[in-house]
Subunit: 532 residues, 2 copies
């Protein structure tokens, strides 16, 4: 067989040759829309590649982006890796110190930054060593000492430029985990791993991406390559719709209607207010094209699934992954073995994290070794596969996250059922160990959040003399609603084991969140440390 | 990223872990049905692997099969490559001399043969050096000096056997092209190429295989791995239905109904009589589950597509590939750019060979270099990609089939349109060069075969003093029908360019065919050599 490398330039060539007239559409900051085709995108990606080379970028160098989801970011997604450099997508919500840390560890030489996020960068400029700052701006009046993205790209002749030949195992992109503890850890994605992830995630049994789709990734492009969707859409010619920084429910619903979006992808905290908005005014938007919302990042509450489907005819597809898994690891589609289950049981199946995508292998390890796939025994999830991280960038100290036989330890406590469907019961560090048994904080949170008066609920472990640990619930009530501790305890009684019911409830205005929107349980544990 | 090899044992592990209870169903020679699951299959594949090792098979050794499509052949499909050996699937329709040639060139040490095909092997036994012959037999009374497949497998303990670690670029399988001229040429498939082909061909935009499918490959497992379907179905957990040697229309229709087949795949010569049978008795079979017949191997006549769809609500999906392309290269799905075409134009699009599957790249070369994608300019199709052959087994003399820059020259004369859709106009050697212009023999054949009285038509070039070459049509009429040369000429007049109309027509009882069912034009050219 030919020695044909799995590199991203093949996807880019295909996007032009086969899908050149398919559209890439972006909502600009000012609310107007930018439209062009994959053929236009490829031309500008080549121009950007040449421009970066003229600025001194060589194969292997890191070029960072601090950008929302838009067409220029897509150009960078191809230009940087296809010219042999490494795309480092930076989460602008990182703490300043972490931002400095990741830019210095990655040794970013150039950064492409949205003008609207320039302030984030500006604060740390004296602590990082950047050679050039390229600003993507609608108005064109970029800060002094920086380069204007559009002027740079359009002013570069790349007519005869061809991307170099590359090895499939060379680095294409990198992304840092925004861990709740410790310094961020970098994951390097190879061309090969992204290409294989693109194949795996496109399958009918995974995200089932088709050319006829119009896909709006709400999940940021600085968060695990927007779950790979920019590459997946380009390979299959699906229309890409970028929301820019307009991520509120009304803007999204408007974009869904306007661009006949068929599939969108985001975290539960995006979809929950969007569902509420839809419930308020179910006939305001024509969403007849929209068939699937993919949800990941954290577990979706049941109400999100049932109401989206029953009231709005939109399927919620639950998927799981991590920065370390490129990210798609499992997906919870309904399978032939579930055909005879009741509707309620089918919902339960689809609210699990699901079965592994082909070539991702999963197992769970308990105190006594690998646990059986019985849907009951909990263990820490371990994964392996061609798009799973084998180490962290410059972090040999993090070797304990990999088993001796080469599996990645996810830190998630899961059960796996006989059909291979995985359910995250908790993060290992969030699990509550009470009287020798395990209580899943996530299960408690989701059950609490199914109460109509509860907007958000986080459950943490509090030290206990007799039981080792006991759960404490931190609750945010819905605006204009009130609920008491006693009412919540009564609500939980028929829904969870009696000994799971939290001993204490704290009502707060807001729960602190990480840069990726997850509950910052470490902060909560500190805040409520005295409650034991 | 992890160094995780793309090897077939991963597919086998997945078939058990995730799809262990999905069925593999086979129609036995005697018409009864054998049913078991992927979990059963995997157990027996491990037993077969151990049995072969005990017989002396080592990594890299070739083990041949001469078998129809059935569960034991599937076991061999996994047992042989997953234990590091090479599966050599032999076409029993090969000429005796070719059979001897391929077995000796491949140095097959063991062969697994269906009892019903033992006669094929017996004829050449004194000309090949086999160490063992394993016979798969329904009755169990195998010829003297051979081993009974079932006894061997079931008598082997493989409880603790694990498949060895392998390199993804090592050979997994091999298949010989049954060329119309010259000696057969062997193509070696690596684990990597088969795995990547499995991903590519499963995509929604390709064959769109899903776990809920029930798939019956009519295409033989000795013909380019049954288009990869055994591996594709195992990876995605689709139910596999094997027809054994029952390939007549009634048996197939009966199997479709009985096993709720959703997708089947075969050559036009299988589907044409099946359509006729359906037209005869449209209500005899409940085919409500069947949604797609995949057709490849040669171009499908239009009637096959329109009548299957209009009269029986079954989609015909046209695909193209070769032994050298593992085989899926292109597939003719209807795409967004075709949405506004008329129904007739859409049929024309879907009767082309279609657009390349992701990571397969195509181009066409004419006398003056690479031709434009305008749907008009003909050129020889060249392809490359990770599942395209880079050379032939032990045949450095066949280097002219590869370009200097590493593309495979298919020998097909094609046009490619602006959307990337390829149409085979002819085989380069079958093209008729008349007065400095090219006439497509395939176009003429398909147009002739659309005449209701014509069962088969082959068009060949006959030397001509003035025009260099002129077409001659060899026609088989449908049973009970008659049609004259004058009538056929008149029929063609509005359908093709006037100068394309064959000068001469020959009516024959049957057209000689190759081992894969293609017209043997070389034989026709010899037969009608005097007609110039």
């Amino acid at each position: 067989m030919m020695d044909f490398p799995l590199t991203l330039d093949v996807i880019l060539r295909r996007a032009v040759a086969t899908h050149g007239q398919r559209e890439v559409v972006t909502k600009r900051d000012d609310g107007t829309w930018h439209r062009y085709t994959y053929a236009d995108m490829e031309r500008r990606a080549r121009q950007l590649a040449v421009a970066l080379q003229k600025l001194g970028i060589e194969p292997g160098d890191r070029v960072a982006t601090i950008c929302w989801n838009h067409y220029a970011h897509l150009e960078a997604y191809f230009a940087i890796p296809c010219s042999g450099a490494v795309l480092h997508t930076i989460n602008p919500r990182l703490h300043e110190d972490d931002l400095v840390y990741v830019m210095n560890e990655a040794e970013d030489r150039i950064v492409i930054v949205d003008q609207t996020m320039y302030a984030v960068l500006e604060k740390v400029l004296d602590r990082v060593s950047l050679e050039h700052i390229i600003v993507f701006s609608a108005e064109g009046n970029v800060p002094e000492g920086t380069l204007d993205y559009d002027t740079l790209v359009e002013g570069t002749d790349a007519q005869d430029y061809e991307f170099p030949e590359m090895e499939e195992r060379q680095a294409a992109a990198m992304c840092y985990t925004s861990g709740t503890t410790g310094r961020p850890k970098g994951v390097l994605y190879s061309h090969r791993s992204i290409v294989l992830h693109t194949f795996g995630s496109s399958l009918s049994s995974a995200m089932s991406v088709q050319e006829s789709d119009s896909i709006l990734p709400v999940v940021p492009m600085f968060h695990v390559n927007a779950w790979g969707l920019p590459y997946t859409c380009a390979m299959l010619g699906a229309k890409l719709v970028f929301p820019g920084r307009h991520l509120d429910s009304e803007s999204l619903l408007d974009a869904f209607e306007r661009e006949k979006v068929t599939v969108s992808a985001g975290v539960p905290t995006i979809w929950i207010p969007l569902l509420d908005k839809l419930n308020e005014c179910p006939d305001q938007y024509d969403l007849s094209a929209l068939h699937t919302l993919i949800v990941g990042g954290s577990a979706a509450p049941k109400r999100l699934m049932t109401e989206l489907e029953d009231r709005h005819n939109i399927r919620l597809l639950h998927a799981w992954g991590m920065t370390e898994t490129t990210p798609l690891g499992t997906v919870a589609t309904l399978r032939p073995c579930h055909a005879k289950l009741s509707e309620d049981q089918q919902h339960a199946v689809r609210l699990r994290q699901g079965h592994a995508v082909p070539f991702v292998e999963i197992r769970a390890r308990g105190d006594e070794g690998i646990v059986p796939w019985n849907g009951k025994t909990m263990g820490e999830l371990e994964v392996r596969g061609p798009w799973i991280a084998g180490s962290y960038y410059k972090r040999p100290d993090a070797a304990e996250q990999f088993t001796d036989d080469g599996w990645f330890r996810t830190g998630d406590i899961v059960t796996i059922d006989a059909s291979g469907s995985m359910k995250i019961e908790d993060r290992s560090k969030d699990l509550i160990k009470s009287g020798g048994e395990w209580i899943s904080s996530i299960d408690l949170e989701n059950t609490l959040m199914s109460h109509p008066a509860v907007a958000e609920a986080a459950v943490i472990a509090i030290p206990h003399v007799k039981w080792t640990e006991r759960p404490l619930a931190v609750v945010v009530t819905r605006e204009g609603n009130h609920v008491s501790e006693a009412e919540l305890k009564e609500y939980l009684l028929p829904l969870v084991a009696k000994w799971w019911i939290p001993d204490a409830f704290e009502f707060v205005e807001a729960i602190p969140k990480t840069a990726t929107g997850k509950f910052k349980k470490l902060a909560l544990r500190e805040q409520f440390a005295g409650k034991s």
